[in-house]
Amino acid sequence: MKKLFPIFVVLCIGLSYSAYSQVLPFRTYSIEKGLSESVVNDLLQDNEGYLWIGTSYGLNRFDGIRFQNYYTEDGLLDNKISALHQDHKDQLWVGTSNGVNIVNKDSIYTLPVLKPLTSGAVLSIHQDQFNEYWFATDGQGIWHLDRNQHLTQYREVNGLGDDRVRDIVEDQQGILWFATRAGLTKLEDGNFRTFTTQHGLPDNRLRDLALTENGQLWIGTRAGLCRISGDRFRCYTEEDGLINNRIQSISVAPDKGLWLGTEEGASFFDFDKAEFSNYSVDEGLANNFIHTTKYDREGNIWFGTLGGGISLFLGDHFQSYTIEEGLPNNVVTSISQDQSGDHWIATYGGGVSRLDITGGFTTLNSTDGLVDDKVYTLASNEGGGLFVGTRWGLSIYENERFLNFDESELPYRKIRALHKSAETGNWWLGTLGEGVLTYNGNSFTQWTEEDSLANNTVMAIEETSDGSLWLATYGGVSRLQGETFTNYSIQDGLPNNGVLDILKDQEGNLWFATFGGIAKFQNGRFETITTADGLPDEVCYFIEQDDRGIYWIGTNKGVVRFDYQAFQTTEESHPFKLFTQTQGLVANEMYAGASYKDRQGTLWFGSVGGLTRFDPSKEKLNSAAPKIHIENISVAGDQISIKPKLEVDSDNHNMVFSFVGISFTAPEQVNYRYRLRNSGEGWQTTSQRQVRYSALIPGDYTFEVMAQNNDGQWSSERAQISFTVLAPFWQQWWFIALVLFALVGIIFFIYHYYRVRKMVDIERMRVRIASDLHDDVGSALTEIALQSDFLQTMEVADTLQESLEQIGAQSRKIVSSLDDIVWSIDARNDTVGDLTDRMQDYVNSVLSEKEIQYHFEGNMQEKLEVSLKENLYLIFKEAINNIAKHSNADRVDITLSTNGAGFLLSVKDNGTSTHNERKTGQGLRNMNMRAKRIDADITFNHNQGFEVRVSRAA
């Protein structure tokens, strides 16, 4: 859509020029700063501190730095905004040319019940004490939305003064007042009553209404300002000092007065003095045609203008002068006040200029006899006259004439500093590059580095009560006592050897302004104050002290207010406060030595952009702490929506928190203190409006931020947002559990696998060894046995026969032993049943002649350990062998019972041969040893036979 640029802008370019004006701290924001349009219809500051600006093309939200624009695309019914109101639920009601919108957070919507209002422009919205809404329209009268959501219209026919209504207010009695084009209508107890010119109003066309805290109703008309008391009106017009009678807007400055916006500038009506102070474009107002005014929470006044955007007025403590106001040149190098009280301004290029009490400048330059227009310094002589130091030497202005010196009298050029000795009455002149000169009224004497002066460039001269002369040079500070120079430099504690200015404070102590900060000289020692201490800039052009004792330091960034007392007391204090162009200075870059305190206590600051006058008595402190808001959060460049239970993925590289502390007095001087709770980091300070975290480890965090305004006021509330950085899936508990589980499983598996495999390997190896032994050795032994058998069938001698038998028997015995080994380690033969089978087999082969009784009990399928099986079998075999070899028994009872880990093996015979023989035998020792191996008890009983009993408890 094409924007129509208002033609008023063109009309307002023809500014009226006044020689007697000064620039005041007005700060203007318009289209070039981001405002959607320069015609402003209404202003509102919401409870969050944001300034809302309704323009003829779009709605704006301003935080001091940035404008957020809203248009019909965002849901507005019309781009022409005519009224703003914030309700008790902090919702913003927006009256447009085409109905009413509600803005809640970032969503814009409409109420269906307000549909009828779309027929005309809504000029004012009011919420009454019952939370019912009243809408003033331009031609449709008043609409009333009651608590039951019923909409009622009141028009002229109902008693309203006119259908075109500009404003609605409600007084303390609950009476509604309407500003119409045909008088003031009040609605009391359901009855309308209208006041017109007949009742004393100067004009029936009313623009704005305002109620003061004490209940006074003020009415802005096209013919002046009126106050109603009872049925009577008290009115003020241009004749009373009002800037213009056509009042557009009234804002109440509590306890102080009224701010009035008119069609020809602004007026402040002071309640106490009943006087008007007037402001126009000449003082810096954006435009003289003011539509609306807004007194903000910091005590500043905003003007919404027709064609000039918005202007913020910070107060008249600063007054500035430039070429436009009559200065001959904007580079102001020195200021002085003469005997008459007029101020003299030295400029570099424009000569000198006298500023009289009316605010008019009278300039004197080379055409008037001044030796050069490039003036470095000037000083008024108590006895009358003015000493002027220029690039081409000294001029003395006396009796409206300049006295100059020829080269033979004064062969030195650049006079940078002037000082009249209180002791001798002689003048001291500091030069650029040529040392310091004394002038006794007749001749000049020079002192240079050759006389031990620290440096030949002398920027400032001061004198102390002991008669010492102090010189600020580019080589440090030189002190002249009598004829002797004592020099102080960095080695002695100066912050920098480039010394630009000297101040003797109220207590008589010297202060030095240098290129590296300031220094106080007291008791022979320098106390330095630099950027490390919080000084906003290192280059200090001048230092001045006001009557309250506050120091003022000129820098490249503006003028610093330095409260030395606060600086000395606590760390929490706010000793430095910077004033810049934003706060009303004419320029930020000051000029070296260009400061002056006049006899009235007013401070004067010279800069490269003009002159600024500061009245310390009008200085106001900003006690309104900034409202702090977290505006957005972005992760890896993508903005994420702020919501409770915010969760951020683990790959949160570059998490950026953007926040704003709203302070319109000095938006760029808001400082922040922030911390991320649970990050292990404490409070940090920054002047940036965002904080970046590169990579947060998983966990719960809370980001908190506070803001401090330029006067050191911290916001009482913290803005905070809690969020959770999610663990990457490989750090989630379930995954860890899973991995742990898998790990344990794998370890267990590997362990088990290798254990089993090892066991199997051992087993296999054992079987293989045994089998190999059995196969090879067994075969060989079998051969021998068979050979011996075979040989026995031959006819051989008896002795040989016996040997052969023995060979055979022995071989078979070995094979049999091997067989036992192979059997015992074969995993397939590991049940109790296998053991009993084997035992029976053995008995069958050895004791075939005897009567054998078996008593087997327990689970025959139960598995036995290899060692247990082997040892039990071998014990058994030993016992059977004993019987076979040594017993005359004819009956054997064999018992084997198993019960879990426990068992009992008993081999009992009924033999009668002596037991001693058996007890001491090798066989019994073997049995003992084997029983020990399997942790079993073995007993040998010889009661009616012999019993071997092996047992182990379960």
């Binding site: 075969s779 068979l786 075979f790 094979v815 084997r838």
Partner: protein, 211 residues
């Protein structure tokens, strides 16, 4: 008339010893002693079958157990005695199921070998308690799928249980008031049923497509 024995044994010395010994006996002859099942099968195709074959288990080429199956298949009348170094009941049992009628350990003395052969031919078949136990579990395990004919009779059960209890043939015969020969006959029968059972198993398996 002397019975004829054959030997399959890969250890040449043992084979020769046994062959020479058996040949020396009046009531036995041993015309064939080879070192593999394959050779024995070749021999059987061209010569009259022996009454009994002593068969080693571990042999080059075809294993003895497989050989038993093959030979029994073609020549069911040949009695086969396992000749094994091991007293390995599992292998022995496998052999029995394949059709062997008994087993001998190699280190058994030559006269005992001769005795065992004659005993077997006389109708007796040795069964140790270990084998008997396996017989029982075998028939229990297979009870579900096998048919009535191949099941053990109650008397056969008695005899097998007797063997498991460690009773000698004589004691079994006494216990049930039957002759030792009857016991032997029963045991032979049991062997046959084992064999049949294993065949049935093979058939069942082949029907299921497992072979």
């Amino acid at each position: 008339m002397a019975s004829v024995a054959g030997i399959v044994e890969d250890n040449k010395k043992i084979r020769d010893l046994i062959q020479r010994y058996l040949d020396m006996q009046d009531d036995l002859s041993c015309p064939v002693a080879v070192d593999s099942v394959e050779e024995m099968i070749d021999y059987l195709e061209e010569h009259p079958a022996p009454d009994v074959i002593l068969m080693d288990i571990q042999l080059p080429g075809m294993s003895g157990i497989k050989g038993i199956g093959l030979i029994k298949e073609k020549y069911p009348d040949i009695e086969i005695i396992m000749l094994t170094v091991y007293h390995d009941s599992h292998k022995i049992f496998k052999a029995l199921r394949a059709g062997a009628s008994g087993y001998l350990l190699k280190h058994t003395s030559l006269p005992e070998i001769k005795e065992s052969i004659l005993k077997l031919l006389d109708g007796g078949a040795p069964m140790s308690p270990q084998i008997a136990r396996k017989v029982i579990t075998h028939f229990q395990d297979d009870s579900a799928k096998k048919n009535a004919e191949s099941d053990l009779t109650p008397r056969e059960h008695d005899i097998v249980n007797g063997l498991v209890d460690g009773l000698s043939y004589k004691m079994i015969a006494d216990r049930y008031d039957i002759s030792i020969d009857t016991v032997r006959a029963h045991i032979r029968n049991i062997y046959k049923k084992l064999h049949v059972n294993s065949k049935a198993e093979v058939i069942a398996k082949s029907l299921k497509g497992e072979i």
